[in-house]
């Protein structure tokens, strides 16, 4: 075919042990005139020229499976042509051939860590191929192809999610929602990228650099002046008179004073500029990170514990700040210092200079050995801190549950275990450091001893002046000082680069729900919502919604009913566009939801969610959250509609009452009514109510029902309710079961049908009877 040579090479690879990288992705763009003409994306991993398989048609799909019948790793091949499905062994011997006409249905049977492609045939079930979890998306596509063939439908092209995302240059897998390959992103790039953040401050940084050079120069002067002092003044010369010598002495001392003064001034100035730029750069990074976090889709946060996440972002940003403010200044000044001192020493006495450099390789070798050790320990310590943070976050957020079940002591011991672990890691980590410093001190002082001995002999022989020896020792101290820190500095640099990497990971994470560029404005929303064959799963191979189709008229109220896990909340997430459907589409007034700007869309919908989240702020601020320009009168008007006005007025601070963190100062019903007012304020055309009346007492529920009834009027509404009675006003009820629509109709119609809805109502009646007895 079109990429034969490259393909053969890969194929040889694939027969080896079950490796991760090879063959994970083998998508070719083939110049093939498919039914839709032009180029088609297809998954074909097997080079058919090498296989003795007589097929009447070109294969549509060929895939590598990676598990043998006994569950061990081993390759086999699945080839699907329009007429049959074949399985080949790793040596390309044909093992199974099933005509498509014998297949009733194909299914992806998902186990843990691996699964199988199952065929239902007229003679019973049959396993076609077994594979590990990484191949689910590809075999999911194979199932779609087989089912399309059995039904005589058009074979769909693989979508992006059917093909695992890998880095185009190295073939390593990319994380979900990450667009940048972390391996191909080298350390140099991270540094360059960090430097990119410094660009806006390049003017100040240049001034800072100049001052840095000056400061370094001023630090170099004193030992040289000391040398002059010793050689020209203190060591008696016959030629110069006493008064002349004293004048000279005074001049040198005054020079020293001036240099020290200038040194002090330049050093504090350089420090100030470093801090000024560093904190601004970090501020920019934090700002960008937060922006990126806000832009990310919900699916990114679903997989992460929030408390851990916040801690990570904060501590990473902090370690970057420390490095940028202190680290960079330190690095540059020390490099300058080392270079300058080396130059001065070589010029003063090259032999002595070379002698004192003798210990440098030792110091470098030692730091190369110590550094990886320290790095691992540091990583372990970081993980321990993380565990502790998660634990604290967890138990403090759930403190009510902890107290209610009297589990304080077990929480304490859980904390204690993690704490002990951290103590151990810290001891190890710091212990190593305590050993490292004396070692470096010893190594560097050994170099000093050599200078004293050789230089001292030179002084005795008269080849080296006393001033030179004294200046030399001062320089040597200044020279070795930074070298000792260099190894620690490498560690620091590495931690910072790792932190920067983690921050960049967030910056690079791709939102899975993306606005298309140049999407036209939606204009006035009428509120017609149409779902066409919407299929979606939080994990691409595990659909929660299956081919949902429903046409909702403007102003219609739809009640969503079903057991928990039936997909009600997921359906609402789709309409809110928290996620995009895997297949099918959602149309708003005939426009595809994907083509509508998210911000614009979210302005035309009002949402009251199951968990009413109030932000730390006043009642008025919370009501006007989505519409900060709202007038006081408007706020009070919507609060009245939401039946919230009267209870708010009873609060001593009225609308200025602070609700406390997460609104804990208000009751559930009160929070709910504020949330309803919030959803109402921007007069949305489409309203989404997710269990808005769950877990409330009857009186509160009545008040909220009243509020909702007013709210719903004239708006397209999707409502989920725990109590079916609350949905009686709905124009139509949609009963979901296992991700599919089981029934659609009015309350009365569905009761007459005696189907799934009838059963749900009966079950609830039973429940309320029990409640009645208990009450």
């Amino acid at each position: 075919m079109s990429v034969v040579s490259g393909h053969r090479a890969r194929q040889v690879n694939a027969i080896g042990p079950a490796r991760f990288f090879n063959h994970e992705l083998d998508v070719q763009v083939r110049p093939e005139l498919g039914r839709n003409g032009g180029f088609a994306l297809s998954i074909r991993e097997l080079e058919m020229d090498q296989v003795h398989l007589e097929l009447d048609h070109e294969p549509l799909v060929s895939l590598r499976a990676d598990l043998r019948e006994d569950g061990t790793f081993g390759d086999s091949w699945l080839v699907i042509s329009p007429a049959e499905a074949c399985v080949l062994s790793s040596d390309h011997d044909v093992r199974i051939r099933v005509p498509i006409s014998d297949i009733r249905e194909a299914e992806l049977d998902r186990g843990v860590g691996g699964g199988s492609l199952l065929l239902k045939t007229d003679v019973g079930p049959m396993v076609l191929a077994r594979f590990s979890v990484g191949l689910y998306p590809k075999f999911g596509y194979a199932v779609t192809v087989l089912n399309a063939l059995t039904k005589g439908e058009e074979v769909p092209l693989p979508s992006e999610r059917d093909i695992p995302q890998v880095c185009p240059s190295c073939g390593r897998p990319l994380g979900e929602g990450t667009s940048v390959c972390p391996t191909c992103l080298d350390r140099g790039k991270v540094i360059r990228r960090l430097a990119g953040f410094a660009r806006p401050y390049s003017g100040r940084l240049a001034v800072g650099g100049l001052i840095l050079i000056l400061a370094t120069a001023f630090q170099l002067v004193p030992p040289y002046v000391t040398k002059l002092l010793v050689d020209n003044v203190l060591v008696p010369h016959q030629s110069s008179s006493f008064t002349k010598a004293v004048t000279y002495l005074l001049a040198l001392v005054l020079t020293l004073f001036g240099v020290n003064l200038l040194g002090m001034l330049t050093q504090s100035l350089r420090g100030y500029i470093g801090v000024w730029c560093g904190s601004r750069i970090t501020g920019d990074i934090r700002h960008k990170t937060y922006d990126a976090l806000m832009k990310l889709s919900l699916s990114y946060f679903d997989r992460r514990q929030t408390s851990q996440f916040i801690g990570r972002v904060n501590s990473d940003a902090n370690s970057m700040r420390e490095f940028l403010t202190d680290g960079v200044v330190f690095l540059v000044s020390q490099i300058l210092m080392v270079l300058a001192i080396a130059g001065v020493m070589l010029k003063m006495n090259w032999l002595l200079a070379l002698l004192s450099f003798a210990t440098i390789p030792l110091i470098i070798v030692a730091s190369l050995v110590v550094w990886p050790m320290v790095h691992n320990l540091w990583d372990k310590q970081w993980r321990s801190i993380l565990r502790l943070n998660v634990l604290v976050g967890d138990s403090l957020q759930g403190i009510r549950v902890v107290k209610a079940f009297g589990r304080e002591s077990s929480e304490k011991s859980r904390y204690n275990t993690a704490n002990q672990e951290l103590v151990m890691q810290t001891t190890k980590m710091e212990g190593i450091w305590q050993g490292v410093f004396p070692m470096f001190a010893f190594l560097s002082s050994t170099g000093g001893l050599l200078v004293w001995y050789i230089g001292g002999r030179g002084v005795l022989h008269g080849t080296v002046t006393l001033g030179t020896l004294i200046a030399f020792n001062s320089y040597l101290g200044m020279f070795i000082g930074p070298l000792q820190w260099f190894s620690q500095f490498m560690n620091w640099l590495n931690n910072t680069l790792a932190a920067a990497d983690r921050i960049f990971e967030i910056l690079d994470a791709k939102s899975t729900v993306v606005d298309r560029p140049d999407t036209p404005s939606l204009g006035e929303v009428k509120g017609a919502v149409e779902l066409q064959n919407v299929t979606f799963g939080y994990e691409s191979h595990r659909p929660v919604l299956k081919e949902i189709s429903i046409d909702v008229l403007p102003g219609e109220m739809i009640g969503l009913v079903g057991k928990s896990g039936a997909g009600k909340s997921t359906l609402i997430n789709m309409i809110c566009r928290f996620y995009d459907p895997d297949r099918g589409s959602i149309l708003i007034d005939g426009h595809n939801l994907r083509d509508i700007q998210q911000e614009e869309w979210h302005k035309s919908i009002g949402v009251v969610l199951q968990e009413t989240f109030l932000f730390d702020g006043t009642v008025a601020e919370n009501i006007s959250y989505a519409y900060p320009d709202a007038t006081q009168e408007n706020i009070m008007r919507v609060a009245r509609i939401a039946n919230a006005h009267s209870f708010i007025m009873k609060l001593p601070d009225g609308y200025d009452t602070l609700v406390g963190e997460r609104g804990h100062l208000l009751s559930g019903g009160e929070r709910q009514r504020i949330a309803i007012a919030r959803a109402l304020l921007h007069n949305p055309r489409i309203l989404i109510l997710d269990e808005a009346t769950a877990s409330l007492d009857n009186e509160t529920e009545r008040q909220i029902q009243e509020a909702l009834a007013r709210l719903v009027k004239g708006r397209t509404t999707f409502a989920i309710a725990h109590r079916l009675s609350t949905l009686r006003n709905a124009d139509r009820l949609v009963v979901l079961d296992g991700g599919r629509i089981a029934e659609v109709g009015t309350h009365e119609e569905l009761l007459e049908q005696k189907g799934a809805y009838f059963k749900l109502v009966e079950a609830q009646r039973e429940l309320s009877k029990i409640r009645g007895v208990e009450g």
């Binding site: 490796r19 991760f20 061990t72 790793f73 049977d109 396993v127 990484g134 990583d379």
Partner: protein, 168 residues
């Protein structure tokens, strides 16, 4: 109401399981023949051989036929069929040795030997991909979702133990 929540524990002698020639678990439970069965562990990590649900796949949704208290109560042939089925339904290879753990920029690459053959495991980081169970048991998850188990770190060879100690 109460009996609804009572599990149906099957009499081990009423269960005959075997593997069909098409690779599917089939058999008899309490005298009834099922053409397509599967097993599901209630505690896959802590009690892998106890409390297994037998599911029948005759209908659209799998139905629980009943529960087996202990795999070892089954007759020899049924037990080996069940073990095979579990092996395929829970693809969690056990790590027998660790060849190398390398840190690439933002990736940890483990080259390992497992009871099912050699494998390479890619992790984005340690803290999200390694779950510590008990004192020396680890569950490792790769970026692709493949899971590996390290049943007892203390039984590994010296090199593997050295690598684990160094990085974990």
């Amino acid at each position: 109401m109460e009996e609804m929540f009572e599990a149906k524990y099957l009499n081990p002698s009423s269960i005959r399981l075997s593997k069909s020639k098409n690779g599917v678990l089939e058999g008899y439970v309490e005298g009834k023949r099922y053409a397509h069965l599967s097993l599901s562990r209630a505690f896959p990590l802590s009690l892998p051989r106890q409390y297994l649900a037998i599911l029948s796949h005759e209908d659209k949704e799998p139905q629980e036929v009943g529960m087996i208290r202990d795999l070892d109560h089954l007759d020899h042939q049924s037990k080996s069929a069940a073990e095979q089925e579990l092996q395929l339904r829970y693809v969690v290879p056990t790590i027998t040795s660790i060849q190398s753990i390398k840190q690439e920029p933002a990736f940890w690459r483990w080259t390992i030997e497992t009871d099912r053959g050699p494998a390479e495991l890619i992790m984005r980081n340690i803290h999200e991909h390694v779950r510590v169970m008990g004192s020396s048991r680890l569950i490792l998850t790769g970026v692709d979702g493949r899971r590996f188990e390290l049943a007892d770190a203390s039984t590994l060879d010296g090199h593997s133990k050295y690598l684990l100690r160094r990085y974990l």
